[in-house]
């Protein structure tokens, strides 16, 4: 079982992203349980969503406290919340940032770090800083737990308020293509 925690800000679609990811994982025959952490969500405030995935039935309907994968879809939220809280050693971080991995301040227990300049891609595609589906592409590249094809199928079922299906498919594809994954301090992919 993998436990994923998504960090974003209200209005960026972190919760919707977790639901799309859940649908894509089910498309591949996995079991999922995705729960948004709740509060008085409002645009701009830090938001968290949880997702468990497993090849077996998932019974616990609880929040996630020790995620082995953390996805940060907003570059500034790391200044507002501790995105590494509870993360065990050997985890994976998928981060929206314009910085290179070498320029990041990271805890030394991570096994893998993936970075994607999602804001730049979002401004290209949406003309707005909406990074959620771009970071799903980054998640696919960083973890190998889901395919771009399954994410595209899940997008077809989703309801988008702000942008169309075509743009979001492009977002997933570019997120996948433009993510750099670094494993154990060594560049794995460009």
């Amino acid at each position: 079982m993998h436990e994923v925690r998504l960090h974003g800000r209200g209005g960026q679609g972190a919760v919707l992203a977790s639901a799309i990811l859940a649908a894509a994982l089910v498309e591949e025959g996995r079991h999922v349980m995705a729960i948004p952490a709740f509060g008085f969500e409002r645009r701009g405030a830090p938001v968290v969503a949880f997702l468990r995935l497993s090849d077996r039935e998932i019974r616990r309907v609880t929040n996630i406290y020790a995620p082995d994968i953390v996805v940060v879809i907003d570059p500034t939220v790391v200044r507002a919340v501790d995105v590494f809280a509870g993360m065990p050693a050997g985890g994976t971080l998928v981060l929206a940032t314009s910085k290179a991995v070498a320029d990041l301040e990271l805890p030394n227990h991570l096994n893998r770090v993936a970075v994607c300049d999602a804001i730049r891609i979002a401004m290209d595609i949406f003309k707005r800083q909406i990074t959620n589906t771009i970071m799903l592409g980054a998640f696919a590249k960083a973890t190998g737990l889901v395919s771009v094809e399954s994410l595209e199928k899940a997008l077809e079922q989703a309801h988008f308020r702000d942008a169309g299906l075509k743009q979001n498919i492009e977002a997933v594809r570019r997120g996948f293509a433009e993510t750099t994954v670094v494993t154990l301090g060594k560049e794995a992919a460009a």
Binding site: V32, F38, R59, V61, T62, Q157
Partner: protein, 405 residues
């Protein structure tokens, strides 16, 4: 089974699952007023109706009191009806809510359970549903998104059974189930249609110019036919509740034969065969309890679970029998019984245990109030404490699971 039809797989939250359960049951009229954490359920119903997926009339009214009052009229006119509410919405609905079972109106209303104010909160807990447990509605609590969807057609089958004719609340936990997303299988429409059959909801009391009758006559008092008439209504209501116990079992079995999904209708016994101590759970907390019990079993500790699905009518004999062989019981509630300084399910379990020839020690645990989480670790603590109770340590409590969270 070869005659089981498997439907389309969707990935959705509990509110959408409830909306699908309602949609597939083909209600004629839906009236809903949005309230957190039920609001998206209303939005899904409105979307299904706007898309033509559902042919129900959607009544936009000004509040929950009118929601249920409108549905009373619809039901008396022969309509299958559906609604959903939570907490303060249920409180505002209470006046017609009290009338509904006395009128023997077989409607289905989802309670997306939420804690009650004050203190102010908008998150999950079962205080709302537990507060209305004595009004004479049937109450069923769901553990998963799939069970929510499946239980709504089952609830119509139970409600509309001529031996029952009572309203049913199908309850799912606010937040964790209402917004929690999982894989759900949609039954085919024809499977649900043939399961439910023809509806006949107003054969006993109706609003129909062709069949004029006085509905809900004035009865009671201390003279004339009043006392006996009132008792007849109350006894009939109690008889309908008791009849529901077997109807609920039959309806779940019938649903299982048609879909392949056999939900435990009254209680679920998990690893109880050789259990020395038992936890009692209700609703979505049960999944974490099962994980905790499996871990305890790996350490050789013989723990089982009795999950309450049907809370009203309370399956007294089934609960007593299931717990008859254990040496201690830990009951976990997601609500407070202020009168007994315990959880409400704990009090019910104690009353059922009176039917046993032996006295089994039991303790009340309360967790998950106002959106708080009940984790596998919390349940591991409940297992430890219940084992110590079995070993002779005195009972105390209630234990507030989130006291230090």
């Amino acid at each position: 089974m070869s005659d089981v039809k498997t439907g389309k797989v969707i990935v959705c939250d509990g509110n959408e699952a409830a909306a699908w359960g309602a949609c597939l049951s083909r209600p004629d009229m839906v009236a809903v007023y949005p309230i957190t954490p039920q609001s998206s359920l209303v939005e899904y119903l409105a979307e299904f109706i706007a898309d033509g997926r559902m042919s129900a009339d959607l009544m936009d009214v000004e509040g929950e009191h009118s929601v249920l009052s409108v549905l009373h009229g619809a039901c008396l006119a022969g309509a299958r009806t559906y609604s959903a509410t939570s907490a303060q919405g249920l409180a505002y609905m209470f006046e017609p809510y009290f009338r509904t079972p006395g009128l023997r109106l077989p409607m289905v209303v989802s309670l997306v359970t939420r804690d009650a104010v004050s203190p102010t909160c908008v998150w999950g807990g079962q205080q709302d549903a537990m507060t209305v447990k004595e009004v004479g509605w049937i109450h069923m609590y769901c553990e998963t998104q799939q069970e929510i969807l499946d239980t709504i057609p089952i609830a119509y089958k139970v409600a509309e059974h001529p031996d029952v004719m009572l309203p049913v609340n199908v309850n799912h936990d606010g937040n964790y189930l209402s917004y929690g997303v999982a894989r759900v299988e949609l039954p085919d429409q024809q499977v649900v249609d043939s399961f439910l059959g023809e509806k006949n909801v107003n054969w006993h009391a109706c609003l129909d110019p062709e069949r004029p009758m006085a509905v809900d006559p004035l009865t009671g008092g201390s003279g004339g036919v009043g006392p006996a008439t009132f008792v007849r209504y109350r006894k009939g209501h109690c008889a309908g509740m008791q009849a529901a116990l077997s109807v609920i079992e039959e309806a779940h079995a019938d649903w299982g034969r048609r879909t392949g999904r056999y939900w435990s209708p009254l209680i679920e016994e998990y690893r109880m065969d050789d259990a020395e101590v038992a936890l009692v759970t209700i609703g979505s907390m049960t999944g974490a309890a099962k994980d905790a019990v499996d871990e305890a079993r790996l350490d050789g500790r013989k723990v089982g679970i009795v999950k309450i699905k049907t809370f009203r009518p309370f399956p007294v004999q089934r609960v007593a029998k299931a717990l008859s062989k254990v040496r201690a019981i830990g009951v976990v509630d997601r609500a407070v019984n202020f009168g007994w300084n315990s959880g409400p399910v704990y009090q019910e379990v104690l009353a059922a245990l009176y039917h046993l020839p032996v006295r089994v020690p039991a303790m009340s645990f309360i967790g998950g109030l106002a959106g708080a989480d009940i984790t596998v670790e919390h349940f591991a603590g409940v297992v430890d404490r219940t084992l110590r109770l079995a070993a002779g340590e005195a009972a105390n409590g209630p234990v507030w699971l989130n006291e230090n969270d």
